[in-house]
């Protein structure tokens, strides 16, 4: 006996499937989106037009073709995106062999899996609403499938589904807070688990930073526990590049050696708490310059004074940092090191070299040469723009002498080249600069568009000194942040234009970011450490206590639901209003010593009263008529009840 799937149930199922697949549209290739839509539409038509389901061999051919297509598209079937693509295809193809209600069960399991894969791509606040809504829909769908015969109305199902989910949410919270979390991945994550992540790369080729600057993704949030450094001091140090190939910059082996260089720190330290978003890289962004003796756990400083962790940051990470804004980094440089930081490729940018040697020849010291270069950027017609003209082979020559338009990448690159050509050891540092303060949360948000590049030159006795040539051209870039550094005409990314043009929207954005920050800090970052910290407040010290408390709370929760259900499904004898009113009149009669005999019906009883106690006769006759009407009239209505009620109330036997 096959319990065939009704058309209503099938169309509902398709609707839920579309709901569950919808957010994946952005991650899947176009051909797959079209395929999914086509199969869903086909299955709907099969049901509506009563077509036949495709023969097994056709299904097999389609399945194999789809698997092959996914494999060739992603050249694997194991990664996150590929896995999602495969799961979606499987779920949709399952539709083509679905006849009975029971077949839906397998599909429901697949839908839950598809649902969970969304969260590997996005865990923003709205996803919780999406999660609950999807859960309600899938629960309603399951109910529909477990109900044989005619389909229940959608409203009834959704309501019942919502009730069940609402009852499950408290249990979810208990689990969420108390289920012992264990650190780290259980097995290696797929290589593309950070698919689509942007961030600083390990080399700087033209255009890299510009593309970063096109996104407003949050990189990290930071809260200073004491004094807040000035914007000019807020340089977050990322990859350092010391090798130039004529076109782009990269790190040499020396630069990435795990070796702390001597640093002399001056003045007071600054401490801060930094929440990094998952980046997939090992880089920890630290305020320049990190205190070498107070490094966060599991982190090391390399030769370029860049902070890295032991493993890639695949989840949000909070660390406490300490920094000194005044310092002498690497007071001495060996001859070999000096030569290393002076290397420039032969045969490139002859005019720049010539300029630099001209400066060198004018018998001024290194610091004066640095100032001369900065003065050049400031006084000549250099522009800060995110859409610079394309540069050719001698890119630095072209930039300095012809186009004069560019952004931090161009300025730091050409400045570093100039310094090296002039015989001053120099390198390019990338990272983030500035950041936006959120007044609500008293913290700073650093987004991808705060990505920046600057230079460091080595000066005798001062060590590596930060020089930001971009600041010479567009000082507001350094002082007030990226968003104020570019005028509208320069083709700003849309999201920044929006923010600037509407102060209300800006305020709302700030508030929203604050909510997001709380969400990140409390929900998404809820891992082993945070759990231990949080539960310690309640005196729960270790995982066995967590399990104990969790079990007790879960039992109490289910007990509450169970009691509620027992009430709902308890036997209810419908209230007999006629009887209730009749008993009320009997009580009145009992006070005057008249009672109904067990063998007496109402009519006989009232006849006896009329005979033996004529005073009560009229009143009781009225009660009797109303009672009989209410009890035995086929269509009992409110008037009959009211009549009886009045008659009973009016009947006042007196002794």
């Amino acid at each position: 006996m096959i319990d065939y799937l009704t058309q209503t149930t099938l169309l509902r199922l398709l609707a839920v499937l579309v709901l569950v697949l919808a957010p994946h549209v952005a991650h899947l290739p176009i051909w797959e989106n079209l395929l999914l839509a086509a199969v869903i539409a086909w299955r709907a038509l099969i049901s509506i037009r009563q077509w036949r389901l495709p023969a097994p061999w056709i299904r097999n051919v389609i399945s194999i073709a789809c698997f092959a297509a996914v494999y060739f598209n992603f050249s694997s079937i194991s990664g996150l995106t590929a896995g999602t693509a495969l799961l979606s295809v499987m779920a949709v193809l399952k539709l083509l062999e679905m006849r009975a209600r029971r077949d839906v069960m397998v599909l429901v399991l697949l839908m839950y899996f598809i649902l969970i894969t969304h969260f590997l791509f996005s865990q923003e606040i709205w996803t919780i609403a999406y999660l609950l809504f999807s859960a309600v829909c899938i629960t309603a769908l399951l109910m529909d499938c477990n109900h044989a015969g005619e389909s229940l109305p959608t409203r009834v199902l959704l309501r019942a589904g919502a009730i069940m989910v609402a009852q499950a949410v408290p249990l979810m919270l208990i689990f969420f807070v108390l289920f012992p979390r264990i650190p780290g991945p259980l097995w290696s994550l797929p290589t593309d688990s950070g698919a689509g992540r942007t961030g600083l790369s390990d080399k700087m080729s033209p255009g890299d930073i510009a593309s970063l600057m096109q996104t407003d993704e949050v990189v990290f949030r930071v809260r200073f526990s004491g004094d807040v450094p000035t914007p000019q001091q807020r340089y977050w140090r990322g990859p350092v590049f010391d090798e130039f190939d004529g076109r782009g910059w990269q790190s040499s082996k020396l630069a990435t050696q795990t070796r702390t260089v001597p640093t002399i720190t001056i003045g007071e330290s600054l401490s801060y708490e930094l929440t990094m978003e998952a980046s997939g890289s090992r880089l920890l962004l630290a305020l320049d310059t990190p205190a070498p003796k107070q490094l966060p756990n599991d982190s090391t400083l390399n030769y370029s004074n860049v902070l890295t962790t032991a493993g890639p940051i695949n989840e949000r990470k909070v660390y406490k940092g300490t920094a000194y804004t005044q310092y002498v980094l690497q007071p001495t440089l060996s001859e070999m090191e000096r030569a290393h930081f002076l290397q420039i490729p032969e045969g490139y940018n002859p005019r720049t070299r010539q300029l630099a040697q001209q400066w060198r020849g004018s018998r001024i010291n290194d610091a004066e040469i640095v100032n001369k270069a900065l003065l050049m950027f400031r006084s000549e017609k250099f522009f800060y723009t995110l859409q610079p003209p394309k540069l050719g082979r001698d890119s630095i020559d072209e930039f300095i002498f012809n186009t004069k338009q560019g952004f931090c990448e161009h300025y730091s690159s050409s400045f570093t080249f100039l310094m090296r050509a002039a015989g001053i050891p120099a390198r390019v540092v990338t990272g983030y600069q500035g950041g936006e303060q959120n007044p609500l949360g008293d913290y700073y948000v650093i987004r991808q568009y705060d990505a920046h590049a600057w230079s460091e030159v080595w000066l005798a006795e001062k060590g590596w000194v930060r020089v930001d040539p971009t600041g010479a051209v567009a000082p507001q870039r350094v002082e007030r942040g990226f968003t104020s550094s570019i005028s509208l005409a320069n083709g700003l990314p849309g999201f920044i234009v929006r923010q600037q043009s509407n102060p209300l929207r800006f305020a709302l954005n700030m508030r929203w970011d604050w909510v997001n920050q709380k969400w990140n800090a409390w929900v998404l970052a809820y891992g082993p450490d945070l759990q231990a910290d949080f539960l310690r407040n309640f005196g729960i010290e270790d995982w066995s206590q967590m399990i104990l408390v969790m079990t007790v709370l879960l039992l109490l929760g289910t007990l509450a639901v169970s009691l509620l259900l027992m009430r709902q499904f308890a036997t209810v004898i419908p209230r007999d209003h006629a009887l209730r009113l009749w008993q009320r009149v009997l009580k009145k009669l009992a006070k005057v010593g008249i009672s109904q005999n067990p063998d007496e019906g109402p009519r006989d009883f009232v006849d006896r009263i009329t005979r033996d106690h004529p005073a009560y006769g009229d009143g009781m006759q009225r009660v009797l008529q109303a009672y009989l009407k209410m009890r035995y009239l086929e269509e009992a209505d409110q008037t009959a009840e009211r009549e009886l009620n009045n008659a009973v109330a009016a009947f006042k036997p007196r002794r």
Partner: protein, 331 residues
């Protein structure tokens, strides 16, 4: 015999244990005239196959969530775990306080299918969806229905009949997997219901016994067709066969054909006339005759060892005759 039993215990210990437990449980279900109320302590509940699948899926999701340290994945996993726990109570409650009444059973001939009507009454203010009735181990062939709030679901269990006599309904389960199909909640019931099984009629062909007419006629039963005498209004108890269907569309109320034939011609169906057959074959043949004679509209009597039914006609008489035949020699 004993060898096979030992082999079974060794080869399929779980299945053997299961069978023993089932037999033990079924033997202890009390037969009751009804109504039967389903109390809390009589509702059993186990996960279904889908329920186990759901649990495994939740575990896999938990591993995934741990691996990616993904809070939202944890949230979904825990929500599903919560839903599973809640669902158990919903399924259990869906069975609770149901009241079962025995309904009608119509007599059938041996070899036909017996229908047992069972009324499932929902006394609560919540509707109960997808309540099923099934014979033991035949849940796949269950009859499933909804009992509206403060209402009754009329459900029918069917079972083929083999031999004449009373066929009790026996033990069956009342179960539900609503709302999510993760759990199977059930209890056993045995309402005192019996289906009367008439002997299966012998194949037609044997000549009817001669009519012993009071008026002295002695002709074959078939020649004694009655004459049509007109129509009269339908009265309760008239057989469907005697209704004059042709006139039904024209007249609002059904009319019944009347025949002049009365009790002046009688036909005795005699046990002793079939001495060449064995008991069951005789009963079958008599059954066939009862049906044929009733069809012809003759009055007939039944004579069997220890039983004499005076000649009469009509459904009640036919039922009486068939009942005697069904229960002949059955204690």
């Amino acid at each position: 015999m004993r060898f096979w039993l030992i082999a079974k215990i060794i080869l399929h210990p779980l299945r053997y244990a299961q069978e023993r437990i089932d037999a033990w449980v079924l033997a202890r279900v009390k037969r009751q005239p009804g109504p039967i109320d389903i109390p809390r302590n009589r509702v059993y509940i186990v996960p279904t196959r889908f329920g186990y699948g759901f649990a495994i899926m939740a575990l896999v999701m938990l591993m995934g969530a741990m691996n990616y340290s993904n809070s939202m994945a944890f949230a979904l996993t825990f929500l599903l775990a919560g839903l599973g726990m809640i669902c158990m109570h919903h399924t259990h409650a869906n069975m609770l306080n149901l009241r079962m009444h025995a309904g009608k059973t119509r007599p059938v001939f041996a070899g036909e299918i017996a229908h047992y009507e069972i009324h499932v009454e929902n006394l609560a203010k919540n509707p109960r969806y997808a309540i099923g009735l099934a014979w033991p181990k035949q849940e796949a062939n269950a009859t499933i229905g909804d009992a509206p709030e403060q209402g009754i679901a009329v459900m029918i269990l069917t079972r083929p009949t083999l031999k004449r006599g009373w066929q009790p309904a026996g033990v069956y389960s009342i179960f539900t997997e609503f709302p999510l199909g993760l759990f199977h909640a059930w209890t056993w019931a045995d309402l005192d219901m019996n289906c009367l099984v008439y002997p299966s009629p012998a194949p037609p062909g044997m000549e009817l016994p001669a009519v012993a007419g009071v008026g002295g006629h002695a002709s074959g039963g078939r020649s004694g067709q009655d004459e049509f005498a007109g129509l009269r209004n339908y009265q309760r108890g008239d057989t469907a066969r005697s209704i004059h269907w042709k006139s039904l569309p024209k007249l609002q109320s059904p009319m019944v054909k009347q025949f002049t034939e009365t009790l002046d011609r009688e036909l005795w169906l005699d046990w002793n006339a079939l001495s060449h057959l064995d008991t069951e074959a005789r009963l079958s043949q008599l059954t066939r005759w009862v049906l044929e004679v009733e069809e012809l509209g003759l009055a007939y009597g039944l004579r069997m060892p220890g039983i004499v039914l005076e000649p009469a006609r009509g459904e009640t008489h036919q039922h009486q005759c068939l009942k005697r035949l069904a229960l002949y020699d059955i204690a």
